[in-house]
Every structure is written in structure tokens, then in C-alpha cells.
Amino acid sequence: MLQQLNEEKVFKDPVHRYIHVRDSIIWDLIGTKEFQRLRRIRQLGTTFLTFHGAEHSRFSHSLGVYEIVRRIIKIFQGRPHWNNEERILCLAAALLHDIGHGPYSHSFEKVFNLDHEDFTQSIILGDTEVNSILKKADSDFPRKVSEVIAKTYENKLIVSMISSQIDADRMDYLLRDAYFTGVSYGQFDIERILRVMRPKEDQVVIKHSGMHAVEDYIMSRYQMYWQVYFHPVTRSAEVILSKILHRAKALHEEGYTFKLEPIHFVSLFNDDVDLDDYIKLDEGIIQFYFQAWQEEEDDILSDLCERFLNRRLFKYMEFNPNVHMEHWHRLYTYFVRAKIDPDYYLIVDSSSDLPYDFYRPGEEEERLPIHLLMKSGEYRELSRESTVVEAISGKKRTDHKLYYPSDLVERIEDQDLKRKISEILEL
């Protein structure tokens, strides 16, 4: 029996009202430096530049996922297929599922060829405060936690509570992101969904009577993706962020001497990041360098940093690669002639650049779909029962946009060149 705190601890939370902690191990994990670091990493990266309220951290999201799993377990206790000996494993995995995230994860991972999930595994299994606390439960406990998060653990029911098409992770981030961005369309009735969740051998299923609450959840995912996560202004900021990192790396590779030596970036530039270097990274560090790089001799790096920090973002236009390919080639040439480096200032961004999980009804065993538990005891895939879900899980909407700095185009002195560019960009 794992030790319990003498008194329950609570965190006040705007989404779940209270987050309850009774297990010592959970309390201790929250206190580790690796978990506290999540306070310094925003959940939504650059979204705060579009929705100014979106300043919430991965720390609060991680606590939220833990709390949802805690509530699901209360519903599952005593039911078939639920083994209460796995309770603390579930809670620890829920709490730590995002522990490997770094600042502006998506751009960092793409530019520096990293995977936050590898760092999640390293933090749980390596020489860290998190690992030393997990080991107190059992020497094999860190391995189990890491396998649940990696989705390779043998008990698939537990995996599906934290990662599936209706899981604690998604439910928390949708509600939390809607709350902090201030949008109204991310809402759904989580209390209702939790009440109708049932454990099955290898996944969580939903009682048929809860189908409409799940429809709202699926709609919320759809709306949040197009209205918040893939907002073109946020994407513009992300494009610039990504180009800052590319530029800094390219300068390092050219042997450029930075005014301020980017010591926190050196292992990233050299594709040789160890856990200690990684854990030191947070948004404070990154913003510090962006501030400093505004003063760099390199015009591109200083300009991109100034744009990011002062929200002088790129403009955008719809771009269909099937129709506009020739336009793009011409623009590329014109930008070179205008001495605006197109590799940094002419960017096509696609919907697949920010992968988002649309609901998929189990097409050819790709992903486990949401199953409804019918009164007869049978299981039915959600979109076969719900016309709403069927409608939005059919043909998927995709999107491509071309990003460019309209202010630099405006300043081109060659009027003929400026006119040609403006015509294509419809300025």
C-alpha cells in the first residue's frame, strides 16, 4: 500500500474547480524540478499572440489530466475489467504524460529533429527527481509509467484512458484552451461524459445514453482546431518562430560569431542534446535569446526576432499548390531580385504542418474508434449511430496558406518589381 498524505491537498483550478491529491507519490512528483519546469512552458505556444488569454501552462494542463483520470477511476472502481491495483500507475502516467515537452515544442521538434516523447521517456527512466520518486513505489514502476505513456503497456484500458480518441488529455486541453482563449465553442459536458464511461477489456467505452455529450465533444475538437489551433495569425507567428530557429542554426553552421554566445542552443545546433541541456530550456530562456538576437549583425535573424517579439507578423493568402505553383516560382525569383530571402520570407504552411486528430471511425484498423455500449450489450462505432459525427468524419477539410512580409514588399524601390509581386499577392 502506497503512502497517503495525512490531509488531502487541493489546487484551485479554473476548469475543474479543485484538483485533489491524496497520494504522497503524486504530491512528490508535482514537487520535482522536472514537473515544476512545466510552469514555464505555455500549453499553446504562440497562440497567446492571437488570443491574449492563452498564457496557461503545461503544468496546469498536466494537473487537469491527472484530475480527470482520478475522477474516471472513481467511476470505474468495482466494475468489471477495472483492476484497482493499477490506480496509482494511471494517475502517475496522467500527471507525467507531457513531462518531456519543451518550449514551443512543435517548432523546436521540427527544426532540431527532436521528439518530446523521447524526452518523456528519458525523464521517467533517467537520473532525475521524477525517476527517484517513481522508484520508491517499486523498482519496476518507472518502466510501467513510461510504457503507459508510450502506449506500449499491456493493459490497453489504462493506455486508452490517457491516450485514445476520447481521453483525459483531450478532454482537459479542449476545456482549458477554450477557457483561456475565451472562445465559446470548446465547451462540452465533461461531467456527463465521465458518468457514462465504462471500462472494457482493452478500451474505455461510452454508454449509448451519453452519445449526445460525445457529439458535443467531437464538435468541440473540430471547432477548436479551425478556430484556435490552426488560426492563421497563430500560424504566422509559428512560421516566424520556426524561421528564427532555422536562421540561428544556419548561422552557427556557417561559423558566424554571435554577439551573445547562444550556449543554451549549442547542443541543439549540433544535434547532440542531452537530458540536462534539454531540461534547462524553457520559454524564459528562449525569449531572452530572441531579445538579444534583435541586436545581432545578421539582418534576417534580428528582423525575425523583432517581428516575433513585437507581433509584426507575416500576412497570408490562400495558396493552392495545384493552381498557384507557377505563381510561387515567379514570386521566389522576384523576391531574390528584391533581395528579400525567400527561404525565410516566403513560406507555404499546410494543415498537415500542425497535425490534429480529427475523429476517425476506425478505418482499416488505423486508430481505435470510440465505441458505444448499446443496451443489448453490443458495441457500436460512434459514427454508425451519430449522423452528426458521421457528417464531420467524412471528407476532411485541408488548407494551405502562403505567408510573406507585406511591409518589406511595400518598401521595394524597383516599382516594376514591386507591382509584379503585388499583383500575385493581391496587395
Binding site: 499491456e154 495545384n322 490534429y356 486508430r367 485541408t398
Partner: protein, 166 residues
């Protein structure tokens, strides 16, 4: 610009036709593990390595008219068939990808059943473990597929063959 899309279109060009989404997922994953420059991020799902990014990119290519997706009903489930279109060929002409070595690899993988590709991609997913540990892992994560010892041996041999061709 859109190089990742172009590399996928090149794969369809080499394969001529890919039948099954699962097969496509596993082919790209295996090619990626063989160091071909596919950038799609994979995670482990119930049926092995899976990339949502790849799924979305294929949907984009379909919506752009570069590849054609045909849905067919096969004994109780839907199967998807992908072929390159003329517009896809034109799109590919804009790129100089230098992916010739991928051709033999794609052709060879395309001849394998998706069940075997699922096993091969799972072995590659756990390639940081010893062979013995990989076999144990397969028994846990692929319990329902009931892979035989012969199949597992064949998968290991095939991986070595693919690697030796690089």
C-alpha cells in the same frame, strides 16, 4: 516548399498503386527507418506505428487532386486504393528529389501483405531493444495478431535484406 508532400507523391509514383491505408502507413514508416527523408512524425498506436501527420498529408494530396483515393467495400470493411494522377505527376516535375534508391524498396514493400508490414514496422519501432526483447515485446503489443515464430524470423530477415540494399 512542400517537399514532404513531393516525397510522398514520389512514393506513389514508384508504387504505381498502394492498396490499404495501413499498408501505406507502414511503408512510409519502414522507409523512414531506412533513412529515406520522410518527415512525418509517428507514434505507437494499437496497430503499431501510426502517423496522423501522414494521414493528413495524404488527405491534402487527395484534396489537391495529386493522388486519387478509391473506397472499396471488402468483406465487411472499407479498403482504400491510392493512385497517382496526371496532376500529381506534373507537381512532381517541379522537384528534383533524387530518391531513385527508394524505388526498389517501395516496390518490394508493396508486394508484402499489410500484416507482414505491420510486424516489420513494429520490430523497427523497438529496434533499440535486443532481438530477444523485441520478440517478447511483440507478444505483448501484438498479442491479438498471433504472429508465428516463422513470421517473426521472416520479418527480421526481410529487414536485413532491406538494409543491405541501402
Amino acid at each position: 516548399m512542400l517537399e514532404h508532400h513531393a516525397r510522398l507523391v514520389a512514393l506513389f509514383d514508384y508504387a504505381r498503386e498502394v492498396v490499404g491505408r495501413k499498408k501505406l502507413q507502414k511503408m512510409v514508416y519502414i522507409a523512414k527507418k531506412l533513412n529515406f527523408p520522410f518527415g512525418e512524425k509517428y507514434q505507437f498506436h494499437f496497430y503499431g506505428p501510426y502517423s496522423e501527420e501522414l494521414t493528413l498529408r495524404v488527405e491534402e494530396l487527395c484534396n489537391l487532386g495529386f493522388i486519387e483515393e478509391t473506397k472499396e467495400k471488402v468483406s465487411g470493411y472499407y479498403q482504400y486504393r491510392y493512385t497517382l494522377t496526371g496532376e500529381g505527376e506534373q507537381f512532381l516535375n517541379h522537384y528534383d528529389l533524387d530518391l531513385e534508391p527508394l524505388k526498389d524498396c517501395v516496390t518490394s514493400m508493396n508486394e508484402k501483405p499489410s500484416r507482414m508490414l505491420e510486424l516489420i514496422s513494429t520490430i523497427l519501432y523497438f529496434d533499440h531493444l535486443s532481438n530477444e526483447e523485441i520478440v517478447e515485446k511483440i507478444q505483448v503489443v501484438k498479442q491479438k495478431q498471433k504472429y508465428t515464430e516463422e513470421e517473426i524470423e521472416e520479418a527480421f530477415r526481410y529487414i536485413e535484406d532491406l538494409k543491405s540494399q541501402q
